[in-house]
Subunit: 417 residues, 4 copies
């Protein structure tokens, strides 16, 4: 096969970012005797794709594939996660995790189309992303082989720090951006940006104000709140209207980007946590997820109005499991499909509109309405009966008390033993 | 027994609030031939207890018992809930639910001490509070009998609106505060205040700015953030320090009240939701829970640093159940004791300090530290190995992929059938 | 409305069994001024429907409707329960609970067709069946009204024991079977028979050998085992073959009845438990569920072969909840539909055959096969590698140990404090 | 360190079974330059320990340690599992999993005492036992190093089948039992024996009658049932009485061994399943667990009588997780301690006696009693009120129906859209 590919060791499809690490990996793979097809996913990150493409070609990539996957990202994984209120460890909105399956699926498509024997990525051997990429690869193409330089001793022993990479880049003629390296690492996509490592490794260090990128500092946000109305259909956002200036979006991608812009403006969506990685390590991460924060707040609120209590409770027992398996990299897994089948069922009729206010870092619900509300103003009223017979509560309570009384009677008996 | 009590029908211990409803109930019970012992719990609400006492005596209460239960409230139920991050339907902090068992327990104590045949309260027949009170009563004194006027046709047919109560008050000489009735109902204690009914019955109506009572409007909050450090021991708050002025509190009640004051000042802890009552009705409620909001945010953050991932995950499967049963009124129930036994176990070693910033409605974590942290800077570092062998991840991922590959193989086979 | 029905109080559709209780209820309802439409469901119980019909007409029923619902019983509720391995409190196969929604749905159909204002049944006020019937009624016809004589003081005070019923029957000319009353109550349908009350109320009393009805005593069962092969498609039984005599059934009802006959012959499916009723009372029940016991054993075994581990685990967290809500009477409820949507998803591909042996009370699995097995003989072999790299396990284990080591390190530190 | 141990590579504590595999491993480790301390756990398996000891010494073990850990096995892990009804995948009683932590803990004790640098075992690289041993080792001694020959290429490439091992044994003068190898593998301890591999690798092959070892064939069991009464205190068995001959045991180990003998006699406790290994492989296993099968049946039955419904339900959500983590090897893990803390709490008051009948493969409950029963004969009676007001059920049901009616109303509305 390698002969057919024209390289002694065969052909590799490398997930290429344009940065120092994957540029060195690209050069190193070629040095090892592989032919390399570079692949860049446009997942909404800030990036000059043409500059990166030229760089990859200069280093020696056989070809460079730039793919805009933003639409499938928002439609397939982001809105699925919103419809489940998927939140890892009750707090993290899964920005990186939701992007990985979309990136990996396109990479496998290209690897198949280009006849690659291998796929490769620049993730480290300690993190979650290696798992997310590789589980996705193996699911979509069980015979694929992975080359992971940061887990190969020849590679990681050679490149023990940033200076080794810079030296290698100089040696190989790889262009290096002259900006000073930031004292943290980032991963950015349309849903969020993450910050970790470097000075953040002390979990007690407050992130510096100039670290945050996708949102303004709440202290610098406008003094006037922004009021939005978000409309959902079957648990997915279908419209956003700015109550102030009337701006309206209904396209799934456009409304998402608009919410990002609004969240950014008002400093909404920052997070600083210590989380548990799948490999068993704790790590400290900071995140900005503007649109996601707004959407989940609005979606969860709407569910209060239109979702049956028991349906919600059952779905809520599975959402944390869904979040966990997305975090761990199991998007392309039968259990993810299973839980989503239940979530989708639960979202039928999650229709309605939520009024939300953004102000200096917070997003506040101000009302909600729905044509299929389960809320009945009359029956819940304190002032009128509304079809409710208060005497029924007597039997309800007395029946619930039977078990408690039996328990107390036996407890007293035990105490006397 | 009634003879001994000196009243034809016996003696009642009434949970008395000083307001119009329970004042009329007090008079009505006497009119029905009961002797009434009035009981008021000081649970941290804003109230002139002496005025209320005089009023109850004037109406005809045999005695009035005012009991300060704030300390047991904070120590027994509030901090237990914080240690479990107990949140009903993922959002509501249970302010009323946590107060009811404390109030009911003291009421039963008084009922026993005063030789009462009955207990009574002023809750309606549609709400949660009737359940919370009565399940607690029955648990603590299985033989007690409950008189619930709002479920008795003779009472609720007679008093069909506020005017009927006012007329009755006039007739009975019950003093009525001349303030105009607010277009909503409230329940206040040290942990929170709730607003419901009236104009809030339309879930799309934004609460008016002058409704909120325990917190300033975020827009009116100071332009300068407040920075606090909260220290926990075994999951319970033991110290708060204001990083600005050095104010320090270590007493459980004082530190709680201080956090309330700080939250109030910065507009932290408002909530507006549609929730599911135990009796099967949806209702709309607005809440202010300043200290609780701050404490749970800080506590949850600390757990990221010091709690084992799997321990946290298991506890997190039970916290919603705990919140539900507290909400439903089952504090004095074997299942509440059971779950708390697990929560308490999980909190051993939840020790450390969290830095938190309050600013215009939001509370933001800015760092955390602990002497018993499970976070290992070296092992989680992206820059050094720290004892982690990156090659181990290879086997970890490949082993996890076995199941996924098998699944994909069979899926392909099914597709071919 | 009652005028239209020709009776002063209106028309009632009564679930009629032909026994003493519902015969007296029929007469009593007429006595109270109702017009009564009697309804008997053929749910597979042993009953002479024509005799019962004649009896109801003689008592005064306006009409008698006998409906064979056996096919929908097996197809809609029994096989759904089997596909979920639904088992209440880990042991009870829900024989009565699965019949009630089928009976109630047909009753509501008849009530609508016959223009009834009311439905009625003969269940007591302490049991589960009243809930199962009435929740089903209200779900299917929210405006229906229920007349439940055993909860009406005029009725239950009048009929305080069997003798009162016999006296009333004599007075009303209701024919009474001359067989002596058994010292227990039963409820029988195609899926099972239940025994409770009477001498069984002492939970330490061993049921007498002559109580059991649907199965022979294991001690009296044949000395030669019976061997069957049961085939499932998408988790539902589609074929049974007797390995001995070649008997084969593929019709859903016929194969079920055949398994009942085989289970009966070999004494399979007896159960004696103390269970928790929905109303909070413990009760002792004995059950015979021959086909159900065999089917769930076979179905669960097949899942081992064809179901993904994580899919199974997630489904298994919901099966007990499903069983509970079926037991409690919530078949026609959104949460039942929700969980079944997940169960159905999980059952796609639960295809294959299971060999089972019946012998003197036990049913034993002897092998299983499937065209879509996830079991891979090569990869699980102890003797050959089969594509598995044993070195991968090293990384798998070492990675899993990271978290444990961190925990032990901190535990040691805590111990030293 | 190795110098101090007198061997070029250091000292190893090997879990030695006396069989062909670990004998060859012992010789091979010595050949590789290690000094080997052999360790045999008496965990209740059938074994001539003195013969095995002589063999190990002959091969060259520096010392041989035989440790009777049966008492701690039964007291610490077996009865803990019984008290939780711990059952993996709803069916497997965890016989091997429960032994491994006990074996590993003693091995680490010896390794420490003997100054070993390494521990070693003879488990393969595809199974669960490698994980169970090594997670235990790492938990109890984080710095220990593991030598796992079946994962070392030099070893597994050299020994590709039984014949290679036999040749090596001949070469090294290792005595080999002349019995013909059975066409399956076994692992035996006091709790169970497992059979897998060989002819069992076809999951449709019925195990031959002569495979089973710890129980007689049900067809060969006595025609007369055996009747036992088992008494529990706080969920642990404390007494067994044979109702026939009066035999009584109260010592935890003796009563366990007696139940094993009774189960063996009556053919109780066989199991044949396809299960999911932790490493992601399905495998077929057959098991005999006589006493465990009896104990869990009795224990589960008693819980019906004495355990609160909600307590049981909550415990039942955690038992499968407990079983899973025990199966996966995480006995010495914080999450196991956490769940056991809840299980222990739930078992307070699980006191009472259960009557059980053993007969030709089945074990049947025949009654149960307790001084702290939550069952109330009067209140559950169908014949008397017993303090239960049947009218209360009306309100109970009507209140539960509110939510269902609201749901149906909205469903109708949706249908009309």
């Amino acid at each position: 096969m390698s002969a057919a590919n024209g390289a002694p060791k065969g052909r590799v499809c490398l997930a290429y970012s344009g940065g120092l690490d994957t540029s060195c990996i690209l050069a190193w793979l070629i040095e090892q005797g592989y032919e390399v097809v570079a692949y860049m996913a446009n997942i909404g990150q800030e990036e000059d794709f043409e500059v990166a493409k030229a760089k990859a070609l200069k280093i020696g990539a056989k070809s460079v594939h730039i793919e805009d996957v933003r639409k499938e990202f928002v439609d397939e994984t982001i809105y699925a996660a919103v419809s489940a209120n998927a939140t890892y460890e009750n707090i993290y909105l899964l920005g990186t995790s939701l992007a990985r399956p979309i990136i990996a699926r396109k990479q496998i498509e290209i690897a198949k189309r280009e006849g690659c024997d291998y796929v490769s990525h620049g993730c480290t051997g300690k993190g979650n992303d290696q798992v997310r990429f590789e589980i996705s690869y193996y699911a979509l193409m069980p015979t694929i082989k992975c080359i992971v330089p940061w887990r190969i001793p020849e590679f990681f022993n050679r490149f023990q720090g940033r200076q080794d990479l810079l030296d290698y880049a100089a040696e190989k003629g790889i262009p290096v951006t002259q900006t000073k390296a930031k004292p943290w690492s980032t991963d950015e996509n349309m849903y969020h940006i993450s910050f970790e490592a470097g000075i953040l490794e002390d979990p007690d260090t407050t992130p510096p104000a100039d670290m945050w990128k996708l949102t303004v500092n709440p202290e610098d946000a406008p003094n006037t709140p922004e009021k939005l109305t978000i409309t959902f259909k079957d648990g997915r956002p279908v419209k956003v209207v700015n109550a102030g200036d009337g701006t309206t979006h209904t396209d799934s991608l456009e409304l998402f980007l608009y919410l990002n812009a609004m969240g950014r403006k008002h400093g909404v969506g920052r997070l600083d946590i210590v989380e548990n990685r799948f490999v068993g390590i704790k790590s400290r991460g900071c995140y900005e997820t503007p649109a996601g924060t707004i959407l989940i707040a609005a979606h969860r609120d709407l569910e209060g109005l239109v979702m049956d209590r028991e349906v919600r409770k059952i779905r809520d027992t599975l959402s944390p499991r869904l979040a966990e398996l997305i975090y761990n990299g199991f998007w392309f897994a039968p259990e993810r499909e299973l839980i989503m089948s239940l979530v989708d069922h639960s979202q039928k009729g999650v229709d309605g509109s939520v009024k939300i206010k953004l102000y200096k870092g917070s997003c506040t619900i101000e009302g909600r309405s729905s044509a299929v509300s389960l809320y009945d103003r009359d029956i819940s009223s304190m002032d009128i009966a509304g079809g409710f017979n208060p005497q029924d509560s007597e039997g309800f309570i007395r029946t619930h008390a039977i078990r408690i009384k039996a328990w107390e009677a036996v407890k007293a008996k035990k105490g006397n033993q």
